[in-house]
Amino acid sequence: MIYSTSLQKKLALLNQVILDSVKFQSKKAIFSSFIKAGIKLLKADYGFIWFRTKKASAFTQLYKSSNTPYRPLPPRKKGFMEKVFQMRAVKFIGDSTKSKLIRDDAKKYMKSVAVIPIIYKRERYGNLVICFQRHRIFSAEDKILCAFIGNSASRSITIHNLYFRLKDFKDTLDKTLDSMFIFDPLTLKIEYANDGASDQLGLPREQLYRRTMVEIQESYKHEEFKALLAPLLMQEEKFLTAEGTIKNSRGRHIPIEMFLQYIRTPGRPGKILSIIQDITERKRVEQESQQLLKQKDEFLSIASHELKTPITTIKGFAQLLQANSSFSKNNVQKYFVEKINTQVGILTRLVNDLLDISRIETGKLKFRRRIFELSRLVESVTDNMQMNAAKHRIILKLKGQFWIFGDADRIGQVLINLIGNAIKYSPRARRVIVTLSQYERFAKVSVEDFGIGVDKKKQQKIFERFFQGKRDAETYPGLGLGLYISANIIKSHKGKIFCQSKKTKGTIFSFTVPYKRCRLKKRKN
């Protein structure tokens, strides 16, 4: 379409109005600028605006020229204004006196009128009304101009709305206290940083925009940072977290955790969103708890060492006494010394348990593995336990020989623990059955007692630390560490430990360890 030079000039002026209007804070200001432009371009006298959004059912007057000679009444429902609004086309009335569309009270103040719907594509915002106090004949050029004014006003409002919606969004993001960055995944250049980021680093945002992610943190160099991002860009991971440190403007090193996410929008270059959190407090708590844990382990270790010295002495002198009393006929003395010996044995085990616990906790439980034959170990442990058992008879059922690669002392410790428990928790029974058999590719050792049994619910928990059977009704001595240690020992030997039990009927504790198919050559010598 070819416009006349005057129309081109007018359109250029309107374009300027559009550009200027974006800066305005309110809709009213935008509309007024268009009304003013319309009045000027059409050489009209005054004008006003009936504002209405798509959803609203009635018009509201948003603005009128200061020289408007009367108070325009609100438009009637389904009246002229509504029609223009719905028809989406400019309506001119050259001579109001002959028109039925104009109210009589208004006819006095306007001879001609142009009603321009403010529409652009699907957006509608009401009508601009531009009034003339004399008759005016509208040309084709006027029509184009008016349509253009309507379109432009609508576009400006749309842009204005969009702008403020984005601005609200950005303001919210800006004011978030967590530090946020948006940066380019290739150059690592910061494209956005919020106030939180600027506060944390102690740098104004304008300065941040001139830096890359490599410059704001200390832990990753350019290539390292890119390597860090690789799983995101390859879409192997949806997000990543990484720890590091940043140095703020005051030179303080702050431990941080970086959250990284790759955000892609179709048709746009992908960006990385990074949220950086100060983890000073978390680090401090972590360090403190580690320190505490270390102190606890040290204490346990020292305490059990210190306990072992007097135990050694007591044990030794009791043994000397026992050797002496075995020659004497004083049976009471002999009995007493025996008692001391058993109790020292128990004490030694408890102290060792405490040491083991601290080793398990710190992952320092060590094993002296070698090839040994399990049935011989079971036999000797059972013999030893039988010597100390006052009432119970330990029945041994050995079904085969099994060569095991493991720590014989530790496996023996497990068996001692299980037999000890069996005796302890079956005070009214007279026997304990120890069975060694094959179970698939494992050697299985079971210890069966006929005692108080274990609750179904507790059977799961029984291998946990500090667990103890039946604290309420009858109490049994012990620290509740034995099964926890045993479970750890068996686990380290790639075996399993488990418990089957019927309340008041008894319990079977079993453990399995993988055995070797054949004896090693070394053994034959």
């Binding site: 060492h305 010295t309 135990i311 050694t312 002495t313 044990k315 030794g316 002198f317 043994q319 000397l320």
Partner: protein
């Protein structure tokens, strides 16, 4: 009974007097001469004066680093042939024992039979 001259001498480096005494009683019963080197005494000096057949050394004595000392004794020509048995409350010390070239290890609390057995192994009483 062996005469005073033929008796073999065991040097016990141990700060806890009751344990030292226990070891002394037991080993004397089995025909050994026992010298105790407690806290504050110079081990090396005693080794030089008494020329013990075997040394029992507690690893954890205040003021004496048992590991360092063992290493030192094992590195000197005059003393390196003397067997050293480490005594400690730590159960698993095989690595330490090997690294300082000690000859044996006795975990606390030990059985008296074990004590005698290990001493006998390194020097049969005359």
């Amino acid at each position: 009974m062996p005469t005073q001259k033929t008796k073999k001498l065991v040097l016990v480096v141990e700060d806890d007097s009751s344990i030292a005494e226990l070891i002394q009683i037991v080993l004397q019963k089995h025909g050994y001469k026992v010298k105790i080197c407690g806290q504050g005494l110079k081990v090396e000096e005693m080794v030089r004066t008494y020329q013990p057949t075997i040394i029992l050394m507690d690893l954890w004595i205040p003021g004496i680093d048992g590991v360092k000392l063992t290493k030192k004794l094992k590195s000197k020509t005059r003393t390196k042939t003397i067997p050293i048995i480490l005594i400690s409350a730590q159960n698993y010390l095989s690595k330490v024992v090997r690294s300082v070239k000690a000859d044996g290890f006795l975990p606390k609390p030990f059985d008296l039979d074990e004590l005698v057995k290990i001493v006998n192994k390194y020097c049969k009483p005359a």
